[in-house]
């Protein structure tokens, strides 16, 4: 789950990471009031008005304005709220800006980079630190990998003070910034653990002229598997940032990603779901979606998944490719039959079933008298789906 910058900063502030004074605003009036309050509290006329969307690169896209005074802040708010912001992370269609963060301006001496992220290879959470803040870390890794310092953290001890100091001294910032940076690094790891994150990235992490260290930006991703420990999380979700079909899928417990083709796919297991898209492409077709109904899907979830596929107007044929394990073929068949009977279906449906309870599943589909085209195996099913999507008989 992705968080907005202002939500991420709330988590950081709670854990003791200094962040700029700021207020969130959902309207121009709120932006004006936020600017007035921030200026009064910070005693600084300069404020920054920042678009809040679930994507980076906002500054280059015109979503961040540095202004002086309340009137200019209001004007910036008018300009940014409601704009469709296009950045390298939003895709060409961009994202509509529905909320702003209004923050105090700061005297920045230096921009750093810090992130906390799990490392698959080392099987540890790793803290990365770099003197090259403000640019993409991928770019730094390509051009100057020696400028990225990292440390794998032992889960039994957390990031210990000396380890944080080791990293901080590596940047040669001098006093008092080094000590402050070390404490910020420890706090970033505490946030990662306390909130069950899958990423905490601060870019830039800034050093002010007085030596203070602040998180000027915050990108926080939460580990969805940790949701059961955080009952308060749902309030942080922003459904307007998600594709409605993808959000519905997530709520129902399966994963769906919209693609750009015309063959709807329903598969169990992420690997087989990817392989199913690969084989459609291999035979000259284009998948309309990735859909993994998951291991323990119920009849109702299968029916819901099927309706999500049908809701995509681009779909010209559907390929169901199931190899039952935990998901039993008869449960799958019942779900598909229920969905088709309820929602109707106007496109050809190719079904390939194998695995647990396969005979019962095939029998159910045959008895249902639905117009289902049988795929003998994955290859046969994929070829038939591709031919049908092109308007050719299988």
């Amino acid at each position: 789950m992705k968080l907005h910058e202002h939500q991420g900063k709330d988590l950081l502030r709670k854990a003791g990471v200094p962040v700029p004074l700021g207020r969130v605003a959902f309207s121009v009036e709120e932006a004006e009031a936020a600017a007035r309050a921030v200026i009064e509290e910070s005693k600084v006329e300069t404020v920054v008005v920042k678009a809040q969307i679930h994507a980076g690169g906002r500054g280059k896209g015109g979503g961040v304005k540095v202004v002086r005074g309340v009137a200019e802040a209001r004007a910036a708010g008018e300009k940014i709220l409601g704009m469709t912001l296009v950045t390298h992370q939003t895709g060409p269609e961009g994202k509509l800006v529905r909320r702003l963060l209004v923050e105090q301006g700061l005297d920045i001496a230096k921009e750093l980079y810090a992130s906390v992220v799990p490392d698959r290879e080392r099987r540890r959470v790793v803290l990365m630190l770099s003197s090259e803040g403000g640019m993409e870390i991928e770019e730094v890794a390509r051009r100057a990998p020696e400028k990225i310092l990292s440390r794998a953290i032992d889960p039994a001890y957390g990031l210990r003070a000396f380890e944080a100091r080791d990293l901080a001294y590596g940047l040669g910032l001098g006093d008092p910034a080094t000590g402050k940076l070390a404490r910020v690094l420890q706090a970033l790891y505490r946030v990662f653990v306390a909130e069950d994150c899958s990423l905490v990235e601060v870019n830039p992490l800034v050093v002010l002229k007085n030596g203070d260290v602040l998180a000027l930006d915050a990108k926080v991703l939460l580990d969805d598997n940790g949701a059961f420990r955080h009952k308060d999380r749902e309030g942080l979700a922003d459904p307007t940032e998600e594709d409605p079909a993808e959000a519905a899928a997530r709520a129902a417990g399966f994963s769906y990603i919209r693609m750009h083709g015309d063959i709807g796919c329903m598969v169990n297991g992420a690997g087989l779901a990817m392989a199913t898209m690969d084989i459609l492409k291999h035979h000259g077709g284009e998948p309309a979606n990735f859909l993994d109904v998951g291991g323990g899907a119920s009849k109702e979830q299968v029916a819901l998944a099927f309706k999500v596929i049908l809701s995509d107007p681009a779909v010209k044929a559907i390929f169901i490719n199931i190899f039952g394990g935990i998901l039993k073929c008869d449960v799958l068949a019942e779900g598909v039959i229920a969905a088709v009977q309820e929602a109707g279906i106007k496109v050809p449906l190719v079904v390939r079933l194998e695995g647990t309870n396969v005979e019962r599943g095939r029998q159910l589909l045959a008895d249902s008298k639905l117009a289902i085209i049988v795929g003998r195996d994955m290859d046969d099913g994929a070829r038939k789906a591709v031919a049908l999507a092109r308007g050719k008989g299988a």
């Binding site: 799990p118 889960p155 087989l272």
Partner: protein, 297 residues
């Protein structure tokens, strides 16, 4: 011959009275697995299906039955604790089927496993099977055939697909392992390749990878140095949409893009027969075996 499990393996199922646990315990019994015990706290002293004794703790189950391998179906919120309990009870192998365990929990568990020298398969995986001898997990038994090809995969259902193709060609399997797709888990490709290479009952290996991380690249490097047996592979996700940002940040550390194309190239460079068509995994292995035979390996 086989790796990790065989007809002597004694299995305890943690979470045997739950929905998935009870269904698959019955399937394991039907397959012929020596399922000697179940564990559900509070139900100790009863029996599962009138034949398998249930214990309150793994320690008691191990002490009374000699179980050496656990198969875990415990819900995600309690699963890290269930694995730790099995480790404390000195099982040799933990097979974790549960999906949805927080990454931080698995990082802590992995540290414990490494410290105690206990092997784990999973989590979020189908388990493993030595055809005709022992099934630990949820793989559909009927698609497997005893034989001499090892199968290792990050995906569950795609493993069944590959095995089904092999069996249809009359190629049996020594041991098939689904290692699971979570970022942090137990046995990985390199561990399994080492075991297969050393196993006199395995002649060749099918490797099924997918996008993300760098385990396929590490497998390629290992194969080049240490594996003489032929290996066939498929990498899922050539058409997957570009990875999310987090994937990139994680990949920077390991020096890999996580892209399918890079993995395929690394494996091919190590002499692995990689197919682009997931329906041709079986045929690719058959041809790799035949080619190796001609070269007199």
């Amino acid at each position: 011959m086989s790796i990790l499990v065989d007809k002597r393996t004694k299995v305890v199922v943690q979470g045997i009275t739950g929905g998935a646990g009870s269904f698959h315990a019955r399937q394991m019994l039907a397959y012929g697995t020596q399922l000697v015990a179940g564990v559900t706290p509070g139900k100790g002293g009863t029996k599962f299906d009138d034949r398998v004794p249930i214990f309150d703790t793994v320690a008691r189950a191990v002490a009374d039955t000699g179980a050496d391998t656990t198969c875990i179906f415990v819900p995600p919120a309690f699963c890290a604790d269930a694995i730790a309990e099995a480790v404390a009870a000195s099982v040799k192998l933990a097979v974790v089927i549960t999906e949805g365990i927080p990454t931080l929990d698995m990082i802590a568990v992995r540290r414990l496993l490494d410290e105690k020298g206990v092997r784990m398969v999973g989590p979020n995986c189908p388990g493993l099977i030595t055809p005709g001898e022992c099934k630990v997990g949820i793989a559909p038994g009927y698609v497997h055939q005893p034989g001499r090809v090892g199968v290792i995969s990050r995906s569950g259902t795609l493993t069944y697909e590959a095995v089904w193709q092999l069996s249809a060609l009359g190629i049996g399997q020594s041991t098939c392992i689904g290692i699971g797709g979570d970022p942090v888990g137990g046995i990985d490709f390199v561990d399994a390749l080492g075991l297969y290479e050393a196993d006199p009952g395995t002649d060749a290996v099918v490797l099924i990878g997918e996008i993300g991380g760098a385990v396929e690249e590490r497998a390629a490097a290992f194969i080049r140095e240490h594996v003489k047996k032929p290996v066939a592979a498929f990498i899922a996700g050539v058409t997957a949409p570009p990875g999310k940002r987090m994937g990139h940040a994680g990949a920077i550390i390991s020096g890999s893009s996580g892209k399918a194309a890079d993995k395929i190239e690394a494996l091919r460079a190590a002499g692995v027969a990689v197919t682009a068509n997931p329906a041709e995994i079986g045929v690719t292995l058959r041809d790799a075996l035949a080619g190796a035979g001609r070269k007199g390996r």
